[in-house]
């Protein structure tokens, strides 16, 4: 090889140094591809339409790389220092790209602008890397060799990154930490370069200090990733999060904005304090007010104590048994001042007995009988909860309802989930019960449905003429009207839900997919 510069003579190309150099090419290429994939994946998750997102992000990114390559001609002197500077910039911008994108989505309306700005910036910087590196290495090796080796390792790195991303990085680290990890790789290469090209570098010490600073920032970022996700979560719930806890059973989040208190279980809205009275009055009173002699009432689910609050308005009710799976849920709603204000301290009433148990197993394991029962479970969005909406469950429940009594089931929306609603009604019929479906409008939920069910030998249900006081929504004429269904909510032909064939979960999934685009 012809030595063209004094540099090369001083360094003399040793095999392992060149291997190390090409491995850093590989790492740089991998980093570049990871940022591109992180941006594409994030855009797909947040905006949907993955084909569009991947296509536009990759296109923009490649174009920006072209811009970078073109710009590289204007960098003439101090190539090594420039290269290190670029590495550090890529490391810090790329490393925090997914964090920035999450925060942009949570806090701004300009997510797309931030996305493409970041993609362009990273693309330009990555586009600068390889031409610069080639020019630095040109002084060491023959041109033919440099082009061949650099491009080979560049493409190898791309392959490694594209395989590692879906298989290892996303499942093990997630998007936030994956990007940071590769930011660290970029910064580490910068630091390493200060030693590798020490002879070509002027301000070595300050360069190294900058590298150390960037590395430290990224490492701290990695360790604080959990906090970042929490900040992002605050915004996934649009209001301020005042309580958040992962219990053994679920993720409980309470948010507050002015006087609106909202409960989310596993990110599903359970109630908004602004209109929950509509839901809970409609859940309890059409049934319970029609049973003036009711003394014992059972509530399954409903650990928020709001249905119990309505039940306690009946002086004739002597005891309420509340069965809820999660002790943290009932503890929270029995003690948090904002929540006890909302449920009127219902869970600490001497008339109320709390049981923390899995409802189906609890029903199977005792013989208590109740005059009225309220079934207030989360919507049947998976096979586990779906077990609580089966004919077998309703048969087990019926054994706990006294002669002449009935029970009411929250039955999801007859408008958005029409098949699901009527499948629940069909399931109750399949269990041999007489059904009286009705519905109410709850602004934060939309049209919502309930079903009263009674044993076939029970007297025919008729809506109550007298309701307890005080109520905010229901009146006797209102109750009577709830049992008529307008055209777009009328019965459809559906199958009952059974333990061995949970059609309800499939109806529900299909119907909510259709509106949750």
């Amino acid at each position: 090889m012809a030595c063209r510069s004094p540099v090369a003579r001083r360094l003399s190309p040793i095999a392992h140094v060149s291997v190390a150099l090409f491995i850093s090419v590989l790492a740089i290429a991998a980093c570049g591809l990871i940022y591109e994939l992180v941006a594409s994946a994030l855009a797909s998750y947040l905006l949907g339409d993955s084909v569009l997102q991947f296509s536009t992000v990759i296109g923009t990114y490649l174009f920006a790389m072209g811009v970078g390559s073109w710009l590289s001609r204007y960098l003439a002197r101090g190539l090594v220092a420039r290269f290190i500077g670029i590495e550090l910039l890529v490391g810090i911008i790329g490393g925090f790209s997914s964090t920035l994108l999450f925060l942009a989505f949570a806090y701004t309306t300009a997510f797309r602008l931030v996305l493409y700005a970041l993609v362009v910036m990273i693309g330009i910087l990555v586009g600068l890397e390889i031409p610069l590196l080639m020019r630095i290495l040109r002084d060491r090796f023959g041109f033919r060799e440099v082009v061949s080796n650099v491009l080979t390792f560049d493409y190898l790195g791309a392959l490694a990154a594209s395989l590692a991303f879906p298989i290892l990085l996303v499942p093990k680290l997630g998007l936030v930490r994956s990007a940071m990890l590769f930011g660290i790789v970029n910064a580490a290469i910068a630091l390493w370069s200060t030693f590798l090209f020490a002879n070509l570098l002027g301000a070595r010490r300050s360069m190294r200090a900058a590298c150390a600073g960037v590395l430290a920032t990224l490492v701290i970022g990695m360790t604080q990733a959990k906090r970042i996700t929490t900040i992002a979560e605050d915004n996934i719930y649009s209001d301020e999060v005042i309580f958040s806890r992962d219990t053994r059973y679920q993720h409980i989040v309470l948010t507050a904005w002015k006087d609106d208190l909202r409960l989310f279980l596993n990110s599903h809205l359970q109630f908004s304090s602004r209109d929950e009275y509509r839901y809970h009055e409609a859940l309890v009173h059409p049934g319970l007010a029609a049973l003036p002699g009711a003394r014992r009432v059972l509530v399954l689910g409903g650990g928020d104590g709001l249905a119990v609050r309505e039940i306690l308005k009946y002086p004739n009710v002597e005891s309420v048994t509340l069965v809820d799976l999660d002790p943290e849920m009932t503890r929270l709603f029995a003690s948090h001042p904002l929540l006890t204000k909302l449920n009127g301290g219902s869970l600490t009433s001497p008339r109320v007995h709390l049981v923390n148990a899995d409802a189906f197993v609890w029903l199977d394991g005792n013989t208590d009988v109740f005059d009225f029962a309220v079934v207030d479970f989360p919507d049947p969005n998976n096979y586990a909860v779906g077990k609580l909406y089966t004919a077998a469950f309703y048969r087990a429940l019926e054994r706990h309802v006294s002669r002449g009594g009935f029970f009411v089931v929250q039955s999801t929306s007859p408008l958005f989930a029409r098949q699901s609603f009527w499948s629940i009604v069909e399931t109750l019929k399949r269990a041999g019960l007489t059904t009286y479906p009705y519905h109410v409008y709850v602004p934060s939920f939309g049209e919502w449905g309930f079903t009263l069910a009674a044993a076939p030998e029970a007297p025919h249900y008729s809506p109550p003429a007298i309701l307890p006081a005080p109520l905010r929504y229901l009146s006797a004429p209102e109750v009577a009207q709830m049992f008529t269904f307008p055209r777009d909510m009328q019965p459809v032909a559906v199958e009952p839900n059974r333990l061995n064939d949970q059609v309800l979960v499939r109806y529900y999934e299909k119907e909510f997919d259709a509106i949750n685009r």
């Binding site: 998750y45 093990k172 997630g174 992002a232 990110s267 799976l325 197993v361 919507d379 949970q502 979960v505």
Partner: protein
Amino acid sequence: MAINRREFIAGLIGAPALVRLTRKAPPQIAGGFVDDGMKAGHALRDGTGAPTPRERQRVAVAIVGGGISGLSAAWELDRRGLHDFVVLELAADAGGNARSGANEVSAYPWAAHYIPVPGPRATLVRELFEELGVLRDGDWEERYLCFSPQERLFMHGEWHAGLEPEFAMSLGDREQFRRFGELVASHRASGEFTIPSALGMVRASPLDRISMQAWLRQHGFTSPRLLWYAEYACRDDYGASLSQTSAWAGIHYFASREVDEQGPLTWPEGNGWITKRLLAKLGHHVETSAPVLRARHEGGRWRLTTPTTVYDADAIIWAVPAFVAPYVVDELRGERHQTSFVYSPWLTANLTLDRWPAEHGIEPAWDNVIYDSPGLGYVVATHQSLRTFQDRTVWTYYHSFAELTPEQARRELLTRDWAYWRDRILDDLARAHPDIRDCVSRIDVLRLGHAMIRPTVGFLTATERAQPRKLSRFFRAHSDQSGLSLFEEAQYHGVMAAREAMAVVGGRLSVAGSR
């Protein structure tokens, strides 16, 4: 499902926090081999351990073997009013392939774990299930039918619903599945493929003369997915590969089942639930750890020797596999090593999981199969629980040794230690659940050297099946007579043997209950 994108992200960015970056030493996994009766069985074979029985007992019928065929024979005798019988079981627990275990998490099966919803011709099964409250007024009790989701298949890095490898199927694959379905339907319509099989068998089927592999080839089936599916069925029901299974048996698997089956029927402890219910009623007739070491015909009666007792019986119901008989029954000693019956070895394991492993695709099902795995997958024992929330679970892992000869497989079972099977099982499961090792706290392994009869080519016409050696007052009840190791077959043959036995000892009915 109503997961919105925000919720998805919350999970996506939250989940990594749970995954430790650096791996600690893998947690200790407890466990070992469970008692498989191998020692007692081999002592029988080798004639070791001279018995010194001290007691003598007189019974009308001695049932040898406390598996489903033996217990079904007992059930039949009992409900027909003959109570003077004893069931002699070699192992410490009755049940045979319908044995089960339990720990603090769940009850779990050791072998057979379900029964397809019986068709109209399986009258005996229906009668038993009416007695046990599984069938009421023509309706199957919902909580005994397998809950949703029932089956899933791991393929291309993801779990898919159902066992047919439908994911990304080519047009050719689809066409072959359709044609296969049509052929099966025509065989089903012929009425020859029934459960119990004896009811449909009017003549020896020509399909008994070729292997399932040859039959599939003859009909031009080449789709790797269809072949996998057909072989999975043979491995799962017969412990045999396509080439080791007769076409009759291979087709029987598909053609004997109802098209719109709503089942199967299953319980956390699998068919052990039926064993428990039968034992609750008949357990006082059952002697466990009571291997029959010798049986001989003397003076018109059978004399059976167990380690503690000599029984004088008017009749024997033979409810253990046929290959054992020449080692025990004096009159059959000449037939050792002559048998053409082949028995498939199996390995089952129960894994206790302290948490559910990570995975992709649909929710855990009852039966979970990994495509192209040497194992048969796993069944979730807690699937039939009525709970909505379960943080711990028990999985029953099944492995039949279709890739080896039965002799090779038995040698493997005898020589390999527990740690070997632990690693093999975990390696297999890790394909679908990369973090399985961090979830499992215990693995108990059961080795079954002769788990089930194998319906090999020519099985139906083999002389020892078609014309078994007739002995006086000796009635064969084991399911190996049918070539299909199914609950329904075991029950059918058990009940039929009981009826034959009652016909000859009928005279003793007057002293029923004298025992």
